[in-house]
Symmetry: C2
C-alpha cells in the first residue's frame, strides 16, 4: 500500500487545526477600547516591520534566484528548479512568520481579557495562538517538501538524487527568511527594549510598559518580531533542513549502488547488504521515512496541544510540560510502528528516538541553568552581594559550564544514531528532535504572547487580580522561552551537523575528490577560520544592537522633550516613529553579518578548496553551538537572578544587590535575545549555502587553478 | 664540518650571559632598610609558593615517571628513557622558574633604587633581570634537548626516530611544571590581588599597595608567581615543544623511506626526491636545523638585550621595541645563512620567517586592541558613560573582534610554511616564532619587576620623582605584558598545532591506522568535546579564583580586626599567613582543571579511538586559541580603559564613568591573568599527553576491543 498520500494529508490536517485554533482565538473578546487600541498598535508595528523586511527580502530573493537560475545553465549539478524551490522556501517561511505574527498580536489583548475570567482561560488563549504558529510551520514544512519532491521527481522526471538536491534550494529559501527574521528581529527587539528602558526606567524613572514612553509599543512589537517571527523562521528552517538532509542521504544510495561504492553505502546503511539493492521502492521508502515520522509528530503534537487547551490544570508550567511529554510519548510509540511498517526494521527509529530525547535533555538542561528556582541562577544572585563585577563573572561561569550537557547530549545522540543506523540515522536523529515541533514551538511562542498580555494589562490598568494572573502566565512564558532557546540551539546544531555530513556525502557521491583529513592544513585553516566566525558574528550583532539602541534613546529623549510627555497627560507620544527607527536600523545593521554568513563559505571554498570549506563548516558549528548555549544561558541566568532578587530575596527590589543584578541582566539581554539565537542561523545558513553552491565553487576552482 | 657542537655552545653562552646579567643586577644597591625588608618579604613569599608547589609537583613527577617507566616494559613504542627525559624536562623548567623568581624578586627594590638615579638606570636593572629569565629559558632549553638527544641517539644507540620520540618526555616534563606555574600561579595572583583590593581599597578605603594591608605582600608575590614563573614555564614549554616537534617530523623521514611511504614523505619535504634519500647525514641536518636556528635566535637576542641595557634612549617603550626588532632582523638574516649552509635550500627558512613575522603581528595586534592610546580601549572608556553594563558589552565585543588578526596570522603563516616547506615547515614556523624568546621573554618579565618596583617605591615612600619614574616603567610594563600575553597565546597555538601534526604523522609513521576524516562521527564527537573543554577549563579556573579570593578576603578582614591595623600604627600585619593562604588555595583549586587536562585525552582516546582523540585535540586548540585571545584582550582592554579614564579623561578618577570602568577591570582581571593564559597550557598539555600516551592508548584499545 502506498502510504505517501499520508504526508500531504498530515500537512493539511496541521493547517486545518491551525485554522481552527486561529478562529477560536479570534472569537474571544478583545477587551475594552483601550486594550484594542494597544493591541492594534502592536499589530500595526509588527506588520510594519514585516513589510519593511519583505521589501529588502524580495530584492535578496530575486537576486539569488536569478543567479541560481543562470548558474543552472552553466554549472553541472545545479538544476533550474533549484531557484524555484528557493523562492517557494522563502515564501512558505515568510507566510508562517506572517501568520504567527498576526495571531500573536491578535491574541495578546484576548489573553489579558481571558485572564479576567480565569487563569486557565488566559493560558488556553495564549497557548492556542502559539499553536497556530507551531502547526503552520510543520504543516507548510511537510506540504512544501512533499509537493516539490513529487513535482520534480514524478512530474519533471528528475532522479531522486537530483530531486532531493533541488530541495536544498527550499531549505536555502527558508534560511534566507530565518536570517532576516532572527538576526534582524534580534537586533530590533533588543534595541527597542534597551532604548525604552534606558530613557524610560533609568532616566525618567517611569515604570516599564508605561504608555507615556514612546518606545513602549516598539518594545512590545520587538517581543513578537524576535520571539515569534524569529523563533518560528529559525525552527521552520531546522525542521525542513533536517527532513531534506535525511531524504538526500537516502537518495544518494541509488547513486552509490551504480558506482559500487560499498564503503560509503555501509556508512549510510550499515545493513545495506540485506536490502537487496538496487531496490528502488525500498530506497524510496527510506527517502520518505522522515516525512512519515514528521506526520506522526504532527498528530502527536495536535493531541499535545489539546491537552493544554482542554486541560483544567491550575499549574501553568506543568500543563505545558505535560503537553510536551504526551506528544513525545505518542511520537515514540507511533514512530516505532510506522518505521517498522515502512522499512521493516527499527534501527532508524532508535536513531530518531535518540534525537528526540537529546532535544528534551537540552531543554531541561537549559531550564536548570537559567531558572530562578535552581542553583546556577541563584549563585549569580548570591554574587550580586559583592557587586556587579562578581555578577558578571559568575554569569559567564554558569554559561560556560552549561555547555557540557547539550554538547554531550548531541554527541551521544549522534554516536548512537551513527552506530545503529549510519549517517542516515544521524540525519534522522535531527528529524526526531524536531518531530514534535508543532507543540514545542507552541510553548515557545506562547511566551511573547503572555508577555504582551502582561504589558497590556499593565498599560490598560486592568486591576490587581488580572495583573497577577498575567504575571503568572508571563513568568512561565519566560521559562518556556528559555527552554525553547536551548532547544532551538540544539536542533540547529544537530541539523547543521546533518547538513555537513550530507555536504560531504553528496560531494563524494557526485564524484568530487575532497580530502577531508584532519592532517590537511587546508582543512585546518578552514577549521580555524570557521571557529572564529561565530565570535565575529556575535561581536557584530552586539555592536548592531548598541547602535540601534542609541538611535532609539535619542528619539525617546526628543519626544519626551517635544511633547512634554512626562508632565502633560493629554499629549500622546508618536509610537510609530519609534517602530520605524527600530525597523530601519535593524535591517540596516544586519547587512554586514548577513554578507559574512553568505559569502565566507563561497570565498573559503574557492581559496582553501572544498577541503577548507569542510573545515570551515565544522569549525563554525563547533564554536557556534558552544557560544550560542553559553550566551543564551548566561543571559537567561542573569535575567532570572534579577527576578529572584525582585521576588524578595537578598534585599529585594532597590537593594544594592538588585542594582548589581540589573547590570547583569542588561549585559545578558543582547546575549540571549540577539547574539545567541543569531548563531543558529549562521551555522545552518553556511551549511546550506555550501550545499547549494558547491557545484559553482567547484566550477570556479576548475577555471582558476 | 660538523657544526653540532655549536648547539650546546650556544646554550652555554646564553647561560653565561644570564649569569653575567644576574651579577650585574645583584651588585646594584638594594636601597634602604625599608626597601630591603619589603623586597625580602616578597622574595620569601615567592619562594614559599615555589616550595609548596614543588612538594606537590614532586609527587606528580614521581608518579608519572614511574608509570611511564613501567609502561615501557609492556607497551611497544614507549622506551624507558622517556621517564628520564620527563624528569629532566620537569627539572629544567623548575630551575628556570626558580632563577627567574630569584632575580625578579631581587631586582624590584634595585629597580626602584636605580630610578632614583635616572629612568634609564631603572629600566636597565629591570630589563636585565627579565633577560636573566629569558636567557635561562633558551639556554637550558637547547642544552636539555641536545644533551638528551646525543645521550639517547649516540650513547644508547636509539634510532633518531626513537630518540626524538623520547624527547617528547622532556616536553611533557616541561608541560607539567608549566601547568602548575601557569594555572596555579594564575589562581594565586588573582586571588591575592582581588582579595587585597576588595577589603583594602573597597571596604577600608586605603590605597593600593598600602603596607597596612595584610595581603599586600601576597599581591606583590602574585605578580611574580603569575607573570614571571608562569609566563616563563609556559614559554619554556612552547620553546622546547616546537623544537622537538620539528626534530621528530624530520626524523620520521628515515622511517618513511624504509616503508616507502611516498605520500607522507612529500607532505613533510615537498622536495624529498632531490634529497637522494636515504641520506642519513642529510636527515640529521634537518633534525638539527631547529636547534641551529634557536642558537641564532640566542645570539640575536643577546644583542637585542644589550641594545636596551647600554642604550641611552629616554623612551622606555621604544627601547624595548627596538631590542625586539634588532633581534628579529638579526635572526632573519643569520637564520637564512645558517639554513642555506646546513641544508642548501631556503624553503624551511621562509617557513621559519613566516612564523617569526606572525608572532610579531600577533604581539602588535594585542597592543592595538588593549592599549589605552588606541580606539578599542577608548571605545570601552566611552561606553562607561552609560554605565557598567555597556562597559562589559563593549569589552566583550572588543575581545571577540580581536581574534581576527591572530587567527588569520597563524593560518597564513601555517599555509605559507606548508606550501613552501611541508609539515616540516609548519613545525619550523613555530620554532621561528619562538626563536627570539631570549629577548621577548625579557620584555615580558620586565613588566612584573617594574610593577613591584612601583609598589615598593609607594610602600617605602620614596618621593614623587622616583614614583613618577617607576610609574612610567610600570606603564610600559603593562603594555609589554599584554603583548607578551598575545605572543604567548599565539606561540602556544602554533606549537600545539605542530604537536598535533606530529601526533598524526607519528601515528601514521608508526603504522597505526588512524582515520582522520572529518566525515567520521568519532572524530566529530572528539572535535565537539575538545571544543567544549576550554569553556569548562575557563569556568573552573575563574571559579577557583573566586573561591581563593574569598578565603583571602576573610583573612584580611580578620587581621584588620585582630591587629587593629587601620587605627594602630604600631601593629604589623601578618603578611606570611596571607601568602600561605593564597599558596594553599591555588594549589588545591588547580587539581580539578589539571585532572581534566591530563585525563581527558586518554579517556577520549580509549572511548572514541585515536580518531576521536585527533578531533579532541583539534577542537580544543581551535576554541582554546580563540577563547584565550578573547579573554586576554578583553581583560587588557578593560584594564586600560580604566587607566585611560584615570589619566584624566571622561571625568577622571572618582567619576561615575570611572566607577563603571573599575567594574570592567575587575571582570577582566581573572580573564587576562588566569583563564586566558591557562588555556595555553591546556592545549599544549593535551597534545603532548596524547603524543606520549598514544602507544599506551593503542595498547589498551587492543585489549578492550
Amino acid at each position: 500500500m502506498d502510504l505517501s498520500i499520508l504526508v500531504p494529508v498530515g500537512g493539511i490536517i496541521a493547517l486545518l487545526f491551525a485554522a481552527f485554533l486561529y478562529f477560536s482565538v479570534k472569537k474571544q473578546s478583545p477587551g475594552n477600547q483601550k486594550m484594542m487600541e494597544l493591541s492594534n498598535a502592536i499589530r500595526e508595528g509588527a506588520m510594519a516591520f514585516l513589510k519593511s523586511e519583505y521589501k529588502v527580502l524580495i530584492i535578496f530573493v530575486i537576486v539569488v534566484s536569478v543567479l541560481l537560475f543562470i548558474a543552472s545553465f552553466f554549472v553541472q549539478n545545479i538544476e533550474w528548479p533549484t531557484s524555484i524551490a528557493f523562492i517557494v522556501g522563502a515564501l512558505f517561511s515568510a507566510v508562517t512568520g506572517n501568520i504567527g505574527m498576526r495571531v500573536a498580536t491578535m491574541a495578546n489583548a484576548r489573553t489579558a481579557e481571558g485572564s479576567k475570567n480565569s487563569l486557565s482561560k488566559g493560558l488556553s488563549v495564549a497557548f492556542s495562538s502559539g499553536a497556530v504558529m507551531g502547526m503552520s510551520v510543520v504543516g507548510l514544512g511537510v506540504i512544501g517538501i512533499i509537493c516539490l519532491f513529487i513535482l520534480f521527481n514524478n512530474f519533471f522526471g528528475f532522479s531522486i538524487v537530483t530531486s532531493t538536491n533541488i530541495l536544498f534550494g527550499f531549505g536555502f529559501g527558508a534560511s534566507s527568511i530565518a536570517l532576516f527574521a532572527r538576526v534582524g528581529g534580534g537586533i530590533y527587539t533588543k534595541s527597542a527594549d534597551v532604548g525604552a528602558d534606558l530613557v524610560g526606567k533609568v532616566e525618567a524613572g517611569i515604570p516599564e510598559d508605561d504608555p507615556r514612553n514612546p518606545a513602549v509599543i516598539a518594545d512590545q512589537v520587538g517581543d513578537n518580531v524576535g520571539d515569534v517571527a524569529g523563533m518560528g523562521a529559525d525552527l521552520f528552517e531546522s525542521y525542513v533542513d533536517s527532513i531534506i538532509a535525511t531524504m538526500a542521504i537516502a537518495a544518494l544510495v541509488s547513486l552509490l549502488i551504480s558506482a559500487e561504492n560499498v564503503g560509503l553505502l555501509e556508512e549510510i546503511f550499515p545493513w545495506y547488504d540485506t536490502l537487496n539493492l538496487p531496490n528502488l521502492e525500498m530506497i524510496n521508502n527510506y527517502v520518505l521515512l522522515p516525512l512519515y515520522i514528521s506526520v506522526i509528530g504532527i498528530i502527536s503534537s495536535i493531541i499535545g496541544v489539546l491537552v493544554v487547551i482542554y486541560g483544567k490544570g491550575k499549574n501553568v508550567y506543568s500543563a505545558l510540560r505535560n503537553s510536551l511529554f504526551v506528544a513525545m510519548i505518542l511520537t515514540a510509540v507511533l514512530g516505532g510502528i510506522i518505521t517498522w511498517y515502512i522499512i521493516n526494521r527499527l534501527e532508524p527509529f532508535y536513531a530518531m528516538l535518540a534525537g528526540l530525547i537529546a532535544g528534551i535533555i537540552i531543554g531541561l538542561s537549559t531550564e536548570y541553568y537559567t531558572s530562578e528556582k535552581r542553583k546556577p541562577a541563584q549563585s549569580i544572585a548570591e554574587a550580586s552581594k559583592t557587586g556587579p563585577a562578581t555578577v558578571i563573572i559568575q554569569g559567564l561561569q554558569v554559561g560556560m559550564i552549561s555547555t557540557i550537557i547539550p554538547i554531550i547530549a548531541v554527541v551521544v545522540a549522534m554516536m548512537i544514531a551513527y552506530l545503529l543506523s549510519g549517517f542516515y540515522g544521524v540525519a534522522l536523529s535531527a528529524v526526531g528532535m524536531l518531530s514534535i515541533l508543532g507543540v514545542s514551538l507552541a510553548t515557545d511562542c506562547y511566551g511573547p504572547v503572555a508577555d504582551n498580555a502582561q504589558g497590556i494589562s499593565e498599560m490598560a490598568g486592568m486591576g490587581k487580580e488580572v495583573r497577577e494572573r498575567t504575571e503568572q502566565l508571563d513568568a512561565v512564558g519566560n521559562t518556556t522561552a528559555a527552554m525553547g532557546k536551548g532547544f532551538a540551539i540544539g536542533s540547529a546544531a544537530i541539523t547543521a551537523l546533518a547538513l555537513i555530513f550530507t555536504f560531504i556525502l553528496t560531494a563524494e557521491g557526485l564524484g568530487y575528490k575532497i580530502n577531508l583529513s584532519l592532517s590537511d592544513p587546508y582543512l585546518v585553516s578552514g577549521l580555524f577560520i570557521g571557529a572564529m566566525l561565530p565570535f565575529i558574528f556575535v561581536a557584530l550583532a552586539t555592536g548592531a544592537v548598541g547602535k540601534a539602541a542609541y538611535a532609539m534613546v535619542e528619539e525617546v529623549r526628543y519626544q519626551f522633550d517635544k511633547f512634554d510627555l512626562l508632565k502633560n497627560d493629554k499629549n500622546k507620544p508618536d509610537y510609530e516613529r519609534c517602530v520605524k527607527i527600530s525597523t530601519n536600523r535593524a535591517l540596516k545593521e544586519m547587512i554586514l553579518p548577513t554578507l559574512i554568513a553568505v559569502i565566507t563559505p563561497i570565498i573559503v571554498g574557492i581559496v582553501l578548496k572544498p577541503t577548507g570549506l569542510g573545515g570551515l563548516l565544522m569549525g563554525s558549528i563547533s564554536t557556534g553551538f558552544l557560544l550560542a548555549i553559553f550566551l543564551a544561558n548566561s543571559g537567561g541566568a542573569w535575567d532570572n537572578a534579577k527576578k529572584y532578587i525582585e521576588s524578595g530575596n537578598l534585599g529585594g527590589k532597590g537593594s544594592s544587590a538588585h542594582k548589581a543584578a540589573v547590570i547583569g541582566d542588561t549585559v545578558g539581554d543582547p546575549c540571549k535575545d540577539t547574539s545567541g539565537p543569531s548563531l543558529n542561523i549562521l551555522i545552518k545558513l553556511m551549511s546550506i549555502v555550501s550545499l547549494v553552491f558547491l557545484p559553482i565553487i567547484i566550477a570556479i576552482i576548475d577555471i582558476i587553478y
